[in-house]
Subunit: 322 residues, 6 copies
């Protein structure tokens, strides 16, 4: 294994991929950020979950599944390595059972990446962690970010049980704190039953562009991608991917699954179609290994994180800023 | 919780949805039918199963999964509550291991709903239960019902092992007893291997309209829905949904799964497209929790039952009788 | 089913035990406490868990498994019903993700039982819930309670991550608040690795009698029961049973399992040997259905709760106050 | 593989044990009974089950697990082959969902073995199948049989739901029909809650010797074996083994599990201690693969069936008729 | 059951399909090849697997699932029996842990079928077994075969760990040995990350026609089938189906799953569209029961093998040699 | 985390134990052996398995379960850290599918530890890996080692399928190569069916002391420990622990399980009673995560490895060489 940057995984044709301690893609576990393009970091926190809980084990499961990944992406025609130097940073600090304190710790730790110019890829954890991650991302720039949000839920409730933060509230807080600009943000995949008709209108009222699941099913991937490209091109984007965007058949291991979702193939196509956009951070959240008996949820999550990294490789190789 | 009609679930924003005893959608468990629009009732009987068995635990699993459901349906733009007053009635009486006697008990109990003007939503149980349920539904009206039947099997065999009733025979009996009118009935989703070529012709010979799985895959949902609407509009319909209509990837927990089926998203679209029709009862059968390790079958079944109830809400709010 | 006290389950020889909505032993779901001897109540809270999480689904799983239980206890030669009138109260209020507030809500709700003279049997939830339950139990009496505590951990750490409450701290708080009298309390089953040697001494230093797992394995059940009887006879006892007292082979579904534990048969013998003691409340905690693939943990928990209720039946029938 | 009797398994050191079609111990699948000492036969019927159902798949699971077994039994110091010639007969005919007719078919088929002088080893199925099997066994002899019955339940209820046969009634019927002599029969392992105090007394009243689970736990295996030997020596014995005799930790895959049972090691010791007795048939019932996620129930059942066959090998090699 | 050719399954309307010893479709287990059209044979070898391992249990699982299949194929309008005489031959000999020796044994055994004019349907096993199977198939003819290869991987690496054979190398060896003609062969479904850009080009460089997963998703089944028909019509074809062609949601039980794959319905359509081609052998490989908790992978594999046999029935009934 | 020796885990009271990349006990992943007392190293090789396969994932599972372990051992009254400096070395090199070559690579890598004076704790892998590990251990000393072997099988077959090495042969080879001295070695726990009577005698004939499972059940732990202590005291011991020594209820996740084994509590007592002996290496083999649905096998294995390390801590603190 390399002993300094550029960092990359060991050769899978030399040593079996199931061998060794499981970091993401078997990347070196390093916490020094010099010479690093991207860092995978776990955020094993799930105290914000309102139904099934256990996403604290999400990072472990995604790392375990990721060792199957190989370094060249055929569809994007890009070699992740050595184009990029990447590490597995380990996990950010959290305190199970204590959301406000954990959010502080997460934000403080996450800022390190942004200050070092390293693009972080965060593995949740429940969706509440996107709030401190956005706070960190916003702390180093003057303008609000664009949010590209794949999810079956909008996660913009004002609060639960009288105003408290949960995994259903992060983007409401992010709006209130001007971390994101809703007019330059888009939510894709919303579906399922809601509490009342105001819930449906809420995303629109707050200013988000919204593509519901039904709309995506009917319009198709290419048409929606065009909308996304037009909206986000040239903007600093934060991509947040809640695995419950995917249908429960493809991603049973999640906390609040909604039926009628999307296949893995659709997810791949959606993410591949984002080339040309500028991403400052990614998160993959709500993977719940305890409800994933065949491991297909973690496997898909790992493969979609791989798409994130391929986008970064293209971004670095080709430049972007369209 | 309300102490009298109109009955509705408790507020999910106040108390966690996983709390309390699990009735369908956390509806009040009530057996008094005054002021009730619809009643969910379990029919935990599986002695009619000819392969895997265990659907007697289907009602429990569907109830458990249903607590995730919220009261407003965005795609149909209808609030289930307070539009409707609904209850969980509990289960109908059955005697495990004894089909003829259980069918008698089920029919007698089911009649109560029809006589009280309450629309029942039955949770099976194997498909044999549709026969006594149809007997009950037919007992209160002068004309045969229209059957809208989603299934990978026609369930019209004349008998098994020399004439005995099973979950493969209910609609043959229903025809023989004139409970349903085949010319105003339709079977959708038939597929898989059969015993001989007569099996293929049988549905047609008996007078049913049939849309095979392959046909639905090729024609698409909208085209088939138009056919259904034209056939059934203005008729009293009984909707019977065998979960093995769905592909095993989306619904592994069933007794006689057939590959090459449909996604959850297609199921949702099919059911949503039934607005305007008049339903007198629904059943959701063949959910087998023992083969549903991630719970996605029960989750989908609960969500499709939710579609049934949304149709009722539209029916009540808008009237129908096209 | 009975429509007023005395409350009891329906006859299992008449209707199949898997039928109907699943309350504990299919007891009536009632929240009115007149004429009630004991009430089973869920406390679906797991925000105090420091490793695996998901005990919020413990009450559901224990209720589901409990429907197998029949009303007569042969070894204790006592009929639970009609000796006792018992109900399933449903669940106490909690706010997932917020421990201090949930503890307040739990304590307030639990007090109701004690003020009404009803003996509660609580189904956790993680072990942090024992603290508010003890607060409620202590609030109605002048003297500290005796604690009878089966567990592989002492749960007397002063705090985690700088002083915060978790499922490892309830009895430390209970001591500090004088809710229990350590000299009249006993912890049984402690085992497994600890942080340092002070942890081992801590229970003794705080004044508890302790029987480690190794000691129980070597001394045997009868000898330890004699010690318990001598210590606790005539005292108001709170029995707290953490399912991780049991070996992981018999109870895999728990949050922080420790190997080298006890069989189900030993648990039954231990609980049966408590007849003659005076219990004011019971709790059964740390049942985690997501790690219980065959359901044996919930089944054992339900059977041990049944032992609790049999003790109450003996207490009522025979009097106690030795 | 041999092409005529004596029949025996192929050599496991030559071809991998997991290879080929799975008969019991990879014995030849043969239905011709000449030159056969014992025949393993499945009875895949579970319509008598009153709670969990699915034992119809028990024979398949036991066969699958049995391929691990090798031909020499060290503790009994006996080579099963070539001492014995044994076959896998396949399954007896049954009609799922129809108990009376299936019982007729089972009895008729089972008689074949007894008339041919072949000792059958039956793999259930639920415990209701012991009734037709006993009818067949009794049909070829003048005197009632002795029953040696390992179970957590007595299975002597007079009926369920008004007199119908289930898996809880076979030995009541067997008594009424004088198939077994209760004074020369013994039930071992009874435990768990019952309906009322008469249930406890019932076995005794009917004339059975009974060793409850608690008694076996306290007296130990050797002491109970001495009682069994004294009672049954010189008698024609039918051994019926309900896998729920075993603790759920060792045998989770069963229909009505009872906690507080026995380990696999105790089962092995009990069966080994039966040498010298004369067995005319064996059954192993209530193995439910759908609740056996790690396959340990079927594995134990296969190993206990192996103990049955070892007893036959000793019986043939040494003679018995003490 | 028939006692001589033509061989066919027993009547599923007479005896329950779950009964008896599990051969493929409950076909007679026969090793004599006279009067046999096709033979199903297991190849339980998985020593070539480079990640998850356990496909040695694939044949057992596919056989177990296959008993659900009935003899008439409605979409192809063909009765498999009596059109064909078919057997379950059992398994070919292998030595676990020793690839070169096992490949010799497999090839030698497989030749028997080709010399007898029986079309074999092989159930793997990992994909390395296709090499000895192709050697056997090629040994009886003068020209290289056409390969029709469904897979997410090309399996044409030159070697692993310095030149050794694995499940990633069979078709490279087959090319080098001129067992197949790449210009008359096609690989369908390739996807997922690879080691470097040469991997992408390799199939093309070796002469194969390739349809990537993405291309199949975009072009659709009918268009690709036309290409296949044009390429392969009139050629002797070997069809090799790696179950990881399918998406992990539909086939989780496999050794090196790749996300973004195909549904079961697409697989059925692809195979049905091959009528008119001439197949000399089929294999279905990489089914891994240990990662298939709901059994849907084995079920799909069994159904796709059924499509193979239906193609044979059409081939025999209609002739082909277009 | 420490950046140089002495190496120890991070503080579990500061950061949640489920956080970070999973090394054994969260020890630093280090391959430099200066200042190291013990090194945990995976040997993810399972090509020697003759039945179920998949122990290549054993090291990952044991590491994952081990993060629950805390640094102080109460029963042995020893702090593992800072008494010892320990690391997780990662995995030794292997080539899946190729036993002879892998054995060479394993032996070469393992020698490093012995030459550096570091006590290795190996995590298998199937039992074939003990052979190269013993070769490495023997290579640095003049005399054969004493083997302390816990297992249900003797693993001393001369070969399988005509002389080839498997997981059933390592100790036969070790004897032939004089790596171990059988007269100073002992095998504990043997049980289960064997191929013929010579198998039973074989261990004795080769010179091993043997304690069968039945003997250990009857004599008890203390008596057997005395025998072990007398035999091995003062000798250089290699401890090999096959997890199938344990009963399948406690360790379902293994390749060739044998019923009638031992509880986890017995294992703990056996290992604790080895204090005073001198161990030069340990291995824990045959953990198969794919058959361990609740993770209890890996958990027990991790806890028993912890006992190994505690023995080392005592050895270092107290000296030994009795």
């Amino acid at each position: 294994m390399s002993s300094g940057p550029p960092w990359h995984p060991p050769d899978g044709m030399r040593s079996p991929r199931y061998g060794g301690v499981r970091t993401f893609m078997r990347l070196p576990q390093v916490t020094q950020l010099d010479g690093v393009d991207f860092a995978v970091a776990g955020v094993p926190f799930d105290t914000g979950a309102t139904y099934r809980v256990g996403a604290r084990f999400g990072p472990e499961a995604i790392r375990s599944a990721s060792v199957l990944l190989r370094p060249y992406h055929p569809e994007q025609a890009v070699a992740l390595f050595p184009t990029l130097s990447g590490i597995d940073y380990g996990d950010l600090p959290t305190v199970p059972g204590y959301l406000p304190r954990s959010h502080q710790d997460i934000a403080a730790a996450a800022e390190t990446f942004f200050r070092a110019g390293v693009t972080p890829v965060f593995l949740g954890g429940d969706h509440s962690v996107s709030l401190p991650l956005l706070r960190a991302a916003a702390s180093v720039r003057d303008e609000p970010l664009s949010l590209l949000h794949f999810d079956s839920h909008g996660d913009i409730w004002s609060g639960y049980y009288g105003g408290l933060d949960t995994h259903g509230t992060p983007f409401r807080r992010a709006l209130e704190e001007s971390l994101i600009d809703p007019r330059q943000s888009i939510q894709i995949g919303l579906r399922g039953s809601v509490y009342d008709e105001h819930d449906v209108q809420l995303s629109h009222d707050l200013g988000f562009q919204v593509v519901t699941a039904r709309e995506l099913h009917r319009r198709g991937v290419d048409d929606v991608l065009q909308q996304v490209q037009e909206l986000l091109r040239g903007r600093d984007c934060y991509l947040s991917f809640d695995i419950d965007f995917v249908d429960p058949a493809f991603a049973p291991g999640t906390g609040t699954p909604e039926t009628g979702g999307f296949s893995g193939a659709v997810c791949h196509e959606l993410l591949r179609g984002l080339r040309g956009l500028d991403f400052v951070a990614f998160d993959m959240v709500e993977v719940l290994p305890s409800h994933d008996p065949a491991g297909i949820t973690a496997l898909l999550a790992a493969n979609l994180v791989y798409e994130f990294i391929a986008l970064l490789a293209l971004q670095k190789r080709d430049g972007s800023r369209g």
